[in-house]
């Protein structure tokens, strides 16, 4: 009974997204939503790691930067078409992600988090200091918008909007299929109990490396889309601010849920734009807001909405004991809402 509701809502979301450019001719709104779409793709990548395996990678923005710079440099310095630069950038990021994963995944828990933090800082440093290739602090100027493919051109922001929407839809589908696949279940098993997973014959190391590579490729994919959209790249695209933003979008939206990353990114981006008007007060408001939400809604908006929804449906179907929260739906059983993702310590 639930599956159709979910389908209908996703479909409605898609329709709303398709109609959005017709509802407003405000290019600023459009560009904010595009930025949110692109960032959401990267946040989905982060979710593969944080939500599904409970490992926190702080190098995610770094890989986003690698994807962006690879695509940007190929387009600016080698005049490569966007449609060739995009897959190349994803491949490069995936390969580097695989290499880093080989080493990084030898560490666990907080060590993994700080190790990847170091990787992220080094990546940003390289982007900043390797002036001949990356343009240094000034960045890479004049990345062209996506080149035409067949009859489709992407000069206008509206056209770009649909391109990025398509990419986001593709990502969501891929992530959904991944989490439903055998790999997804294996990841879940590792998140819940690594030793148990090992005991029942799962190759934990290989599975973790696989998920790390998938996660970084999504970051690279998002980065490669970001470069032609913005037209300009600076080392800050891979910086700590970007990293923490992505993490916030994920945690506020709700990790380990399919809609969480998208809703978290959209909502928080809208909120930050709204708070911009408060100028120097914006972080004074955002900071405590974060603390409060992590204390009172630790499972993010996903968990919060779910809890409220459950309470409402409880009230509706009060007499029937079958609808009580003590018998959660099969999906809830698979991923209990009160067990948020773990960034577990190694010991």
């Amino acid at each position: 009974m639930r599956v159709p509701t979910t389908r209908i809502l996703w479909l409605a979301a898609l329709l709303a997204a398709l109609a959005f450019p017709f509802l407003t001719d405000n290019l600023y709104f459009l560009s904010i939503v595009i930025t949110a779409f692109i960032t959401a793709i990267a946040v989905y990548g982060l979710n593969v790691l944080v939500g599904e395996t409970g490992q926190l990678s702080l190098a995610h923005a770094g890989f986003f930067g690698i994807g962006a710079y690879t695509a940007g440099i190929l387009a600016v310095r080698f005049d490569l078409s966007f449609w060739l630069a995009l897959p190349t950038a994803v491949a490069v990021t995936a390969f580097l992600g695989f290499l880093v994963g080989m080493v990084a995944l030898r560490t666990r828990g907080d060590y993994f988090a700080i190790f990847t933090l170091g990787v992220g800082v080094v990546i940003t440093g390289i982007l900043d200091l390797w002036e001949g290739v990356t343009g240094g602090t000034d960045g890479l100027i004049g990345v062209p918008p996506p080149t035409r493919i067949g009859p489709l051109t992407f000069e206008s922001l509206e056209a770009q909007y649909y391109l990025y929407l398509f990419c986001l839809a593709l990502t969501i589908l891929a992530v959904r299929n991944l989490s439903r696949s055998l790999v997804g279940r294996t990841l879940l098993a590792i998140r819940n109990d690594e030793h148990l997973a090992e005991a029942i014959g799962i190759n934990v190391g290989r599975t973790k490396r696989l998920s790390f590579t998938i996660s970084t490729s999504l970051a690279g994919f998002a980065g490669a889309l970001y470069a032609p959209f913005l037209g300009y790249l600076g080392p800050s695209v891979s910086g700590l601010v970007m990293m923490f933003n992505m993490l916030l979008y994920l945690m506020i939206g709700g990790a380990a849920s399919l809609a969480g990353p998208l809703v978290g990114t959209l909502l928080l981006m809208a909120a930050t734009q709204g708070l911009l008007a408060f100028e120097e007060y914006q972080l004074l408001i955002l900071g405590p807001l974060l603390v409060l939400s992590i204390i009172f809604a630790p499972t993010g908006i996903a968990g919060l909405v779910n809890r409220i929804g459950q309470r409402l449906s409880d009230r509706k179907t009060k007499p029937g004991p079958s609808a009580a929260p003590s018998s959660p739906s099969p999906k809830n059983r698979a991923r209990p809402s009160h067990a948020p993702p773990h960034a577990e310590a190694g010991n």
Binding site: L9, A12, A13, L230, G231, L258, I301
Partner: protein, 402 residues
């Protein structure tokens, strides 16, 4: 996945509401005065916030004067200016988003951006509809190289300083140059220009010890390294305050030579931290308060009245104040507040016509490339006094053209 459908429902509502709340603030006052929004995107939080506030102060001061005088009439319509400021934390990608927002929400015909990354990032946007005039506050010559027809570059370009700075210090102190500027690309570009000129004039360039002025906890290490080569002159520069600390650390370790100070650092701000005696033998930007022209004296006085005695009227305040007045004058001359092309076309005439009391500097020309120029004077600190070193106008390209 637990809650996808409910979450999506919420998301849908939010997006719909967001899409419908399309408001833009502009129009006319009750008394028929037309309101023109002036945009600003710069750092208002983070490490460069103070710098951003200085720029905003300059703009606010000019706008308040214009509104108070109430004498700006464009096409026989009284005009009132309003400054719309957005924080971009010095990040170029945020500048791009902010500019889109300013154009859509506030319909700003003019936008001030005070950092080179942001300027280069938004330059291509200025010529796409809706067009806008980009008031660029950065001394980086690449702003002009972009040949953007809707840019007004306000400060003097820094490459004009190399030759006179090198000449003066090499003659006074000797031909060994130590290099210790901030490690940003601006700092590196400066260092490259100065070292090239230093060699050209027959000097010897020692090791490059540039270091990030913003993130270094203790400057003692790089200072010791630089002095190990026994330099006669040292290139320093970054934000004023850390630059002053580096000078202080160098003096403390016994250095007695001269300094070439990059234009980002201002002597008057450095003197709040260290005594002038430690700055002996430095060349750099001439402090605004040391000018004696009528326009400057009046500006400094009005600045102190508005912002208090303890705040310093630095060149970034004065130049952005100046830039805003020129833009307003150009709007009047062009007879439009909305057409950036027409406003840009009148900038040269506006710079020439602007009344003396609104000119903190004696710049009187906007070149074909969109650069505000005039007689630039720099300072050499000798025997505790500021000695003026004039910078020659760039031949050919710097001459008044339009």
């Amino acid at each position: 996945m637990i809650s996808s459908h409910r979450l999506l429902a919420l998301g849908l509502i939010v997006v719909t509401v967001g899409a419908c709340s399309d408001e833009a603030s502009e129009g006319t006052d009750a008394d028929g005065t037309e309101v023109v929004n002036i945009g600003f995107s710069g750092p208002l939080s983070g490490g460069a916030a103070f710098y951003g506030q200085n720029v905003v102060n300059g703009l606010t001061m000019a706008i308040d004067e214009l509104n108070q005088a109430g004498d700006i009439e464009v096409n026989e319509q009284a005009v009132r200016f309003e400054l719309v400021t957005l924080d971009d934390r010095y990040l170029p990608n945020e500048s791009a988003t902010n500019v889109r927002r300013l154009l859509q929400q506030s319909r700003t015909p003019v936008i001030f951006v005070p950092h080179v990354g942001g300027i280069l990032a938004v330059q291509p946007m200025s010529v796409r509809p809706p067009e806008f005039l980009l008031s660029a506050y950065s001394s980086d010559p690449r702003i002009l190289e972009a040949a953007n027809p809707l840019t007004l570059m306000i400060p003097p370009r820094y490459d004009g300083y190399f030759e006179p700075f090198v000449g003066a210090t090499m003659e006074a102190y000797g031909n060994r140059l130590g290099v210790l500027p901030t490690n940003t690309s601006y700092g590196r570009a400066w260092a490259e220009g100065v070292t090239e000129e230093w060699r050209r004039q027959g000097g010897e360039v020692l090791g490059d010890h540039s270091v990030d002025y913003n993130t270094t906890t203790d400057f003692a290490g790089p200072v010791t390294q630089t002095l190990a080569d026994a330099p006669d002159v040292i290139l320093v520069g970054g934000p004023s305050q850390p630059t002053a600390l580096i000078v202080h650390a160098l003096r403390q370790q016994g250095y007695e030579g001269g300094f070439i100070v990059m234009d980002q650092a201002k002597f008057e701000e450095m003197e709040q931290i260290i005594p002038r005696t430690e700055l002996e033998g430095s060349v750099g930007v001439y402090p605004l308060e040391a000018y004696t022209s009528v326009g400057t004296v009046g500006f400094v006085e009005r600045f102190h009245e508005k912002f208090g005695r303890e705040r310093l009227p630095t060149s970034e305040v004065a130049l952005n104040y100046f830039g805003m007045h020129i833009v307003a004058q150009a709007m009047e001359l062009a007879g439009t507040v909305a057409d950036p092309q027409a406003i840009r076309g009148q900038l040269t005439e506006a710079a020439r016509q602007l009344s003396e009391d609104r000119k903190p500097y004696e710049y009187d020309t906007v070149t074909k490339e969109g650069h505000l120029t005039g007689d630039v004077v720099t300072a050499f600190i000798q025997n505790g006094e500021y000695t003026a070193i004039p910078i020659p106008r760039r031949s050919g390209r710097g001459a008044p053209v339009e």
